[in-house]
Structure formats: structure tokens, C-alpha cells
Subunit: 437 residues, 2 copies
């Protein structure tokens, strides 16, 4: 399963490793955040669950192998290589930072240790799975922080980069602090609270707005959220308020939310509907949420779509997957890349979170604080069930609260200190001096 | 299949439509580009193939229905509604603009006509599928234009918003003008040329760069592309040039490409390797490609990843899916939305492409030029096989060449004129005057 969901060069390298007798070499790769996403003080780790599912199921079907065999790039590959692929399973180890952990520039999120080919092929999938969900979780955490306790609901599947990305994005948004999602499949798959009532089409499908509202209330009862901006927002508010009966409240999807929410609040209150709540949606992000909250707009809940589901101001993140060590017949060789502006650090590592800094050390070193890279898969087997999504979400909330308050603000704060241990610094120096040419 | 891959409100509305006896109403929805993506002169239609696959397979499993039944939002839904869902199939009509067609602001890409519930549920999936691939195809067309005939290869799956988005993005990038992709699954599924040879890990896994290069050549022969920037780009070029034997050429993945490509070219030429080509990759987009091309850098091919796979400067697009007419017992009612800054136009439409403008008219009107909205699914059945990806790619190339040259430049040009027919203007006026309240 998913054997071909990788860049071709991972597979041509696999053929090359096989051909050159490197199948018994044990490789360690690290997936590292080279830089934080734009405008972010932290990156909230997410996507591990998908990585584990991928590694435990990674394989090649006969049709996939037959496809590879016919590619010109594999003209020189041996028949034994394709036999090897047909039996391919991931038999190695995965160490990972738990989902819901804030990470910073230069920090590893995953360590993969496996026979070279098995560690090479997953590169493409792992990078995409981790960076995407991490981007969305990080953005969600910012939106939730800006809302200061008011629920933020993820509404963005229609803007996501494929519907599947919308579903995984909904997962990451919940992990990062959203209260729920509009994506029904995400609710079904991941147990996330799902929310939503009606769109403009509902209102337009009836001859009058009042009739549309009355019928919706009949179906949804106290879960009803009347969408009041189809024709005229204030008239919509009056129509909703006039109906009586149970409803959650109203939703405004366009216009100046600060002004409209006050006018709508007044209309609802005047009609004795102090119980009816106001949700706003439409082109929101953490900055507009903060603006509305600090202006004191009477808004009870925010629906965030496009900006969250695409992490629009930071739609990508500079993470890399680099070989850090190779072990042949028990002898380790440390590897690093020293190309301009894109270096990588040699050796398998551990990351310790102390009270006011992180220490990146060599694996096996003792350290203070929490050791963040933990065994997840050993010898191709899951060590123990992953934390539930609820637990990861709680970890995110707890970990973010432990950061200096300035890092939870929307503006760029002083970076969290990440220092290298003495042993790691020594290894970096030694490796640089022994650089191959 | 995929019944839950939609926003919850599509399903609560479905329950409401069912409950209010609207199942026999025939609805027409349009998926319209409200605005072009940022920095774009056109949006290149893509994603139709996935839309068709979705509509032809849309259904609900018993487990999915059971999940819905237990949600609080469906507490008031009738048992008959869940029976209806268990038999749900799309039985309606889809009209669509062919893939590879440039579209402009205010233009419809799809028209769905079906019983109201069947037309409502697909909203979320359709918007995501069309806008994502359209964004990527449009970005690819810009990169290809900037490269002025040099091949541009899509390298971005690792940066895409999920690996699956990377695969569909590779499809869209090829449609938009890329020469191939690094995504192997995209090659397998869609027949796209796949490219790629080796990463830095290959070089680092050997004790010397020269050994790594020699071994790669043994496996890949004339397909070999030596990645020369692991340690020192110029020394890497010398190592590659010294080897002799067949190779495609070298790839530079970091540094100042304008300077390095000239230096590397000189090294290769001096070694008598005029046949060896130079590819560059790493943080490229259409602007940096144009810069390198206009500077005369001796670059033969460009690999574009992050910026293309995420459409980074325009990661989303303002498309909407709006109800434009409802037909009950043969009587049509035209619908529109007049909310601030987010209006929609009533009535089913046709889009005619003339030599120097588009005319948006009512469906059934005669028009000059090519009628772009064509029947794809009628009565739940595919009318004829969709064009092949190769044909859609050729249509894209041809259609873009037919645009004024300024629209193929990277900067914003005068917009392509999109006018409304007299009949459509009359309908807009009538509908506004008969607005429900």
C-alpha cells in the first residue's frame, strides 16, 4: 500500500542501494524543522498518527512493481530488486515528538532508523504528512488564542487542497484548539465534534426567508443557527427573532462584523432573545478575530475557513529529511550536509525541553527536562497505542500555556532558545573536518 | 462512498429538504469563480476528472448512516430520511467547462442540475476538488511560460497539503504545462512522465562523492543526474565531469543559480562534457525562473517544488457554489444572493468564448464563439469518456496561446472582458425586484 506515493528518486536510490550491496546498512534519518513557518512563534507538532499508519502498511502491489519495471530509470535494476520490493515491509524504528508539542526552528520532529532502503522511501510521505498537519494545528492554535475562550470552528474543507486535506486539516485544527469542524468525515473518523446547520441555498430554496427559518427550526430544534445574511442581515435578524421557539442563534457570513454583530445583538435582545447567540464566518483569521474580540463585538463563536484550512499566510514550512548516520557492520559513520544555507547536523539526536530552553543533544546523552523524541515503532511494531486525539489536544493546550505569554501572541516574539549540547557541538566539528570530497 | 466527505450543513439541509417535501424539486447550482487567485490573469480549469469520479460513486455506507443518526443535529430527522440516504445515488446532470480552459472572474466552471438534495450534498467536495487543481494548473502554466520552452518538472509532493494533494497536484501541474513530476504514484495513476534520480542522502551514504557518482551512473546510465551540491558545488561538478560515461547531466539544489550554473557549465565544457545538461531546483517560482532565463543562465531544466505544489503566493481562490434556480412541478423560480460584496447571479447559464471576450448568457440562448459549459453527466450517467489528460494538457497550451500575450506574462494585465447578455441582465433585474424577505 502506498509504495509509489513517493518521489521517484527515493525508488531509484533504493535500486541503487540494492545494487551496491547497501541493504544491510542501517541508516538514521531525521525530519527536522529547518525554519518556523512565516509569522509563527512555534510549530505545533501534528500528523504523527498518519505517519504511523503509513509506515505500518507500506508495501508494493504487483501492478505497482510492474509499472516500475517498465520505467526507463529501472532498465539497469536487477530482477532481485523487484523481488525485494514485492516483500517490502518497514522493519525499522520510529522515534517521534508527540503530537501537540510546540517545536522550534532547528528541531527534529521524527527520527527514523532502519535498513537504508526502508528509511529512504518514506521521505516524501513523512515530510508532507507532518508539515501539513503541523501548519494547520499551528494556525488553529493562533485563532483559538485570539478568540480568548470563544469557540472557533473549522469551516474550511471547501478551500483545502483536496477534500482529503480538508479532513486531515480538520483533525489538525481540532488538535490545535478548534472546538469542532464542519467536516462530517472528520467527525466520523476522528470523533471530532461536528457543527453546521444551513447555507444560503436553504434560505433561497424557500419562497420567503421566514418560511425557511421556520422549517429549519422544525428540523434542528435548539441546534438551529439561522444564517441571516442571504438578502439583508438586519431584516434576517428580525425574521429570526420574531419566530420564537428554540434556537442556538444566528450566523452572519458577510459584511462588517463589528457593526453588524452589535445591531443584530440589539435586535435579538429587543425581541427578548438574550439566549440567542451570534456566530460570524467569512474571511476570518487570527488577526480579524483579535480585532473583533478587542473591539468588544458581541460575538459568541467564530467560523474560520479559507485562512485556516490553507494556512494561507504560511502555506508551507521548511522541513527536511536528512541522513545523519550510517552503520555498517556495527561501525557508525556520521553524515551531514554543508551546502550553502541548507546545512544539516550529523548524528542521531535527542531533544530535551527544559523550563526556559531546549537542548539538542546526541541520542544517549543524559539531559534535564522532558526527552521529546520517544520510541513509537520498534522493529516494525507499534510500541503502544498512540495517545488519543483528545489527549494530544490537551497536551497542545497545556504545552502552549507553558510557553512565555509573548509566544502565544500573534506577533513574532523572541525565539525560544534552542542550544546544542557540548557533545553534539563536538560531533559537528569532527564531522566537518572529516568531510568527504 | 465519500458520502460524509462534506460539510455537515449539507446533510442537515438534506434532512430538512426531505422533511419539508422538497425531494422532488429540481435545483440548479453553479460553481463560479468569484475572483481570480491573487497575481493571476487567468485560472486554468482542472479537477473535473475527480469531480466526475466522485459524483458517479457518491453513496453512504450503513456505518456512515448510523453515525449520522446518532448526531444531535439529526435527532429530529425521520427514519425515512436515513432509508433515503442508504439508497442515495447521484441521478442528475453535470455541465462543465473542459479541463485546460482558462477562466476569468465571475465565470461558472460547473453547473449541477439534480433533485435538490443530490445537488446540495456535493458542494464541499466539488469546490475543493476544482479550486485546488485549478490553482496548481494555473501556477504551473506561469512557471512553464517563464521557462520559455525549457522543461519545468514538478517536485513538490513533500510540500503539498497531504501526500494525496501532492499526487493530484502533480496531475494539475502536468495539465498546466509541466513536463513531468517526481511523484511516482502520479505517473502510475495518470501516465505522467516521472523524473528523479538521487538525493543528498545517496551521496552521503558513500564514503566519497566520486564513489557515489560512479555507482549512480552504473545503475541509471544515461538517465543519471548527479546532484552536485552536497558538499561543494564546484568540486561536485568537477567530480561529475571527471567520471566519463553516459549521464543526462547535473543538478544544483542550492546557492546562486545564475553564478553557479555558469561556473558549472564552464567546468563541464572544459572537461569536454558539452552534452551534460544542468538542472536547478530549490525555492524556485515563476519569478526566479524568469530572472534566470532573462539573465541567460545556462540552465536546461527547472525543478519546482514548494511554490508550485502549494500555489504559495495564491494558496486559495474565491469560488462559490450557489443555487441559481429551483423548478417545482415544471415551474422555475430564479434565485440569487444579494449580500454585501458576495452576490450571486440568478438562472442557469452558458458561457461563450468569443475571439476577444466572453459572453455570459442564460442557458438556451444562442451565442457566438465556443459554448464552454458542456454536458458531462446526464441522468447520473457519463455522456462520453472525458478527454485524456494529454488532450486536456494540449487544450491548455492551445487556449493559453490564444490569449493576448500580456495575459501570459507574470504581471497583472487588463482583464479579459466578460460581459452579460441582454437576457441575463434582464433576469438579474427581475430577480432583484422579486426578492424574498
Amino acid at each position: 500500500m502506498n509504495g509509489l506515493l513517493t518521489d521517484l528518486y527515493e525508488l531509484t536510490m533504493a535500486a541503487g542501494y540494492f545494487d551496491t550491496g547497501k541493504t544491510s546498512e542501517l541508516a538514521t534519518f531525521e525530519l527536522t524543522l529547518r525554519r518556523l513557518p512565516a509569522n509563527r512563534n512555534f510549530a505545533l507538532m501534528a500528523g504523527l498518527s498518519q505517519v504511523v499508519e503509513y509506515l505500518l502498511n507500506l508495501s508494493f502491489t504487483p501492478e505497482e512493481i510492474s509499472y516500475l519495471r517498465d520505467l526507463p530509470q529501472f532498465a539497469g535494476a536487477s530482477p532481485a530488486f523487484f523481488d525485494y520490493l514485492s516483500r517490502f515491509r518497514f522493519t525499522g524504528d520510529l522515534f517521534a515528538v508527540p503530537e501537540g508539542t510546540p517545536l522550534f526552528a532547528g528541531e527534529p520532529a521524527l527520527t527514523l532508523r532502519a535498513p537504508l532502503i526502508e528509511a529512504q522511501i518514506p521521505e516524501t510521505y513523512l515530510l508532507s504528512a507532518i508539515t501539513f498537519q503541523t501548519l494547520i494545528a499551528s494556525k488553529a492554535a493562533r485563532c483559538a488564542a485570539a478568540a480568548e475562550g470563544r469557540p472557533v470552528v473549522e469551516f474550511g474543507t471547501r478551500r483545502a487542497h483536496t477534500p482529503e486535506a480538508g479532513t486531515l486539516g480538520a483533525r489538525a485544527a481540532y488538535l490545535g484548539g478548534c472546538a469542532g469542524t464542519s467536516n462530517t468525515l472528520a467527525g466520523y473518523r476522528y470523533g471530532i465534534p461536528v457543527m453546521g446547520t444551513a447555507a444560503h441555498a436553504w434560505v433561497m430554496s424557500f419562497a420567503s426567508e421566514t418560511e425557511a427559518f421556520r422549517k429549519l427550526q422544525r428540523v434542528l430544534g435548539s441546534a438551529t443557527v439561522h444564517l441571516i445574511d442571504t438578502y439583508d442581515t438586519l431584516q434576517g435578524a428580525r425574521n429570526a427573532a420574531a419566530l420564537g421557539g428554540p434556537m442556538w442563534g444566528v450566523r452572519i457570513d458577510s459584511g462588517d462584523f463589528n457593526t453588524l454583530s452589535r445591531q443584530v445583538r440589539a435586535i435579538l435582545d429587543e425581541a427578548g432573545r438574550q439566549d440567542a447567540r451570534i456566530m460570524v464566518s467569512g474571511d476570518l483569521d487570527e488577526y480579524s478575530i483579535r480585532h473583533l474580540v478587542s473591539a468588544g463585538a458581541p460575538i459568541d463563536s467564530f467560523g474560520v475557513g479559507t485562512q485556516l484550512a490553507t494556512s494561507a499566510d504560511a502555506p508551507h514550512m521548511g522541513a527536511v529529511y536528512k541522513l545523519v548516520e550510517v552503520e555498517i557492520c556495527g561501525i557508525k559513520r556520521f553524515t551531514a550536509k554543508y551546502s550553502e544555507r541548507k546545512p544539516s547536523l550529523p548524528g542521531s539526536k535527542q531533544l530535551f525541553r527544559e523550563a526556559a530552553r531546549d537542548v539538542l543533544s546526541r541520542s544517549g546523552e543524559c539531559g534535564k527536562g522532558e526527552a521529546l523524541l520517544r520510541p513509537v515503532i520498534l522493529g516494525g511494531q507499534l510500541v503502544e497505542p498512540l495517545p488519543t486525539l483528545e489527549n494530544s489536544r490537551a497536551r497542545a493546550a497545556r504545552s502552549l500555556l507553558a510557553l512565555p505569554p509573548a509566544m502565544r501572541q500573534l506577533e513574532i516574539a523572541d525565539p525560544w532558545p534552542v542550544i546544542h549540547s557540548r557533545e553534539l557541538r563536538e560531533l559537528i566539528g569532527q564531522t566537518r573536518n572529516n568531510l568527504p570530497v
